[in-house]
């Protein structure tokens, strides 16, 4: 009896903790919005973060995008071959990349690369009192540390997603046309026929949203780190897990809303 009530108690507390955390993240988001519109914006910091989140993620995004497109083409080919519809491989890859895989995979890769780094960086700054030092020097840490990261995430994720989409389609093309001998004209024709501007742009909106999630979660976890080096490690892990899960869950809802 006691054990059951303890379990219920623990479960309830976990739910409450999660809800509380969501609330805190939301509050952080509101304060980010407020600090974002308060000049002056530190362009130099934003660019630095854009370089870190965007430019330095290009390689990994190109790699994952290309191979995702390639494997989609391969898998799609085996399916479509049964209906003699091999030329649909191109449009499948293109639709899959622009609508889902481009944004989601890019977001997951950037979460792993940059979201975790944000949590670790801010966490270290927190436990070594650098964030306090900022406050003491009358500089708002949210404005100085978090706003540039959020802006970078929201802007760079769509940019990376475009690259990922494009590379995925290119990868699909290189598997489909020279290797699997799908007619190049039909391959491309079907892409242009089946893919709408809306597919691309909605994918990019998703990406921007994912960029917000991953940078917000990374910053939140880092910003609220306690407990030294161990705490930094924990914050980093939690940031990656929470951001990834949030991205995948919100992807469902975004898809349901958009398409």
């Amino acid at each position: 009896m006691n054990r059951i009530s303890a379990a219920v108690d623990r479960f309830g507390r976990a739910v409450l903790d999660n809800i509380e955390e969501m609330g805190r993240i939301f509050i952080l988001f509101i304060s980010v919005l407020m600090w974002m519109v308060r000049p002056p914006l530190k362009l130099r910091l934003i660019f630095k973060q854009m370089e870190f989140v965007g430019v330095k993620s290009i390689f990994v995004v190109v790699l994952t995008g290309t191979f995702t497109g390639m494997v989609m083409a391969l898998q799609g080919y085996y399916g479509f071959r049964m209906f003699n519809a091999e030329s649909l491989v191109g449009s499948t890859v293109a639709l899959g990349m622009t609508r889902e895989l481009g944004p989601v995979l890019t977001a997951l890769m950037v979460t792993a690369r940059a979201g975790s780094a944000m949590a670790a960086e801010l966490g270290t700054m927190r436990v070594t009192e650098q964030i306090d030092a900022l406050s003491v020097m009358a500089t708002n840490p949210v404005k100085h540390l978090i706003v540039p990261r959020i802006i970078a995430g929201v802007i760079m994720l769509p940019a990376l997603t475009i690259v990922s989409d494009f590379m995925g389609i290119l990868g699909g093309y290189f598997v489909g046309v020279p290797i699997l001998n799908i007619n190049a004209g039909a391959f491309i024709k079907n892409i242009t026929k089946m893919v709408d501007l809306g597919d691309i742009y909605n994918g990019l909106i998703k990406a921007a949203f994912f960029g917000l999630i991953l940078s917000l979660v990374g910053c939140y976890k880092g910003f609220n780190t306690t407990g030294g080096a161990e705490g930094v490690g924990k914050a980093t892990t939690e940031a990656v897990v929470l951001a990834s899960v949030s991205i995948l869950v919100s992807d469902y809802f975004l898809t349901a809303i958009m398409f």
């Binding site: 270290t124 650098q130 009358a138 500089t139």
Partner: protein, 248 residues
């Protein structure tokens, strides 16, 4: 003029400050002593508004900073400089950028001017020419001195020192103490220094406060403290295991 009135602070169930009452005199150096984990840093963070009291007031120049919003608090903070326990230098920036940080944030000085000021500050703390080093390339003492340079770069009225000499060798300890005394004198600063080091306490402090179990148990001039018969103080100063302070 800084005044703490019945300041209480708990973290969860852990009660850290249990009714602090303390007046800090302008233009003097006040040293706060107390055991490790006793809440000295917490007390210091209340003075600069990094932590807000659960109850009580922290009055700086007649204003209760506990009730201020962020913007007004920032205005108050421009009067302060703070040297953190581990210096808290921004490790993504070099020494130059660290010391220049408050200047860039709060003055409209030109870059050349800022460079000049930074050089002066570094010279004042005895580290000329380290502008291009990264914090990770510096020793603990050097870091603290750079932290001090950063803390006094804006020529604040009040400077808070959180254990400036802990973990340093005796010579370095002496150098830092001299630095604190000199800067205090030359800029007529109000200083609040947290320290364990008995030698430093009497050298640096005009006033000394003893924090014990969340309260200020003794407060007075160095002479008064030296002559105090408070058993807690006596045990702390003598470093004895016998007494009310239990080590376990």
């Amino acid at each position: 003029m800084i005044k703490l009135v019945d300041v209480h602070k708990s973290f969860g169930r852990q009660k850290v400050l249990g009714g602090i009452n303390l007046d800090i005199e302008d233009g003097k150096t006040t040293v706060i002593i107390g055991g490790s984990g006793g809440g000295k840093s917490v007390l210091l963070k209340h003075i600069i508004g990094l932590l807000r009291p659960d109850s009580g007031q922290v009055i700086v120049d007649g204003v209760d900073i506990a009730s201020l919003n962020d913007r007004d608090l920032n205005e108050i903070r421009k009067k302060f400089g703070m040297l953190f326990q581990e210096a808290a230098l921004f490790d993504s920036m070099n020494v130059m950028e660290n010391v220049a940080f408050p200047l860039r944030a709060h003055t409209k000085k030109k870059d050349a001017e800022i460079r000049q000021t930074v050089a002066e500050m570094l010279k004042a703390v005895g580290l000329p020419g380290v502008e291009n080093k990264m914090p990770s390339e510096l020793s603990g003492g050097m870091r603290k001195r750079v932290g001090l340079a950063r803390a006094i770069a804006l020529h604040p009225q009040i400077v808070l020192f959180d254990e400036p000499t802990t973990g340093l060798d005796p010579v370095m300890t002496e150098a830092i103490n001299e630095l604190i005394i000199e800067t205090q004198k030359s800029f007529e600063l109000t200083c609040v220094v947290i320290s364990h080091d008995v030698q430093s306490i009497f050298k640096v402090g005009h006033r000394i406060a003893m924090l014990y179990e969340g309260k200020i148990v003794e407060y007075g001039t160095s002479e008064e403290i030296r002559g105090s018969s408070n058993p807690v103080l006596r045990q702390f100063l003598s470093g004895s295991l016998e007494g009310p302070i239990s080590v376990m």
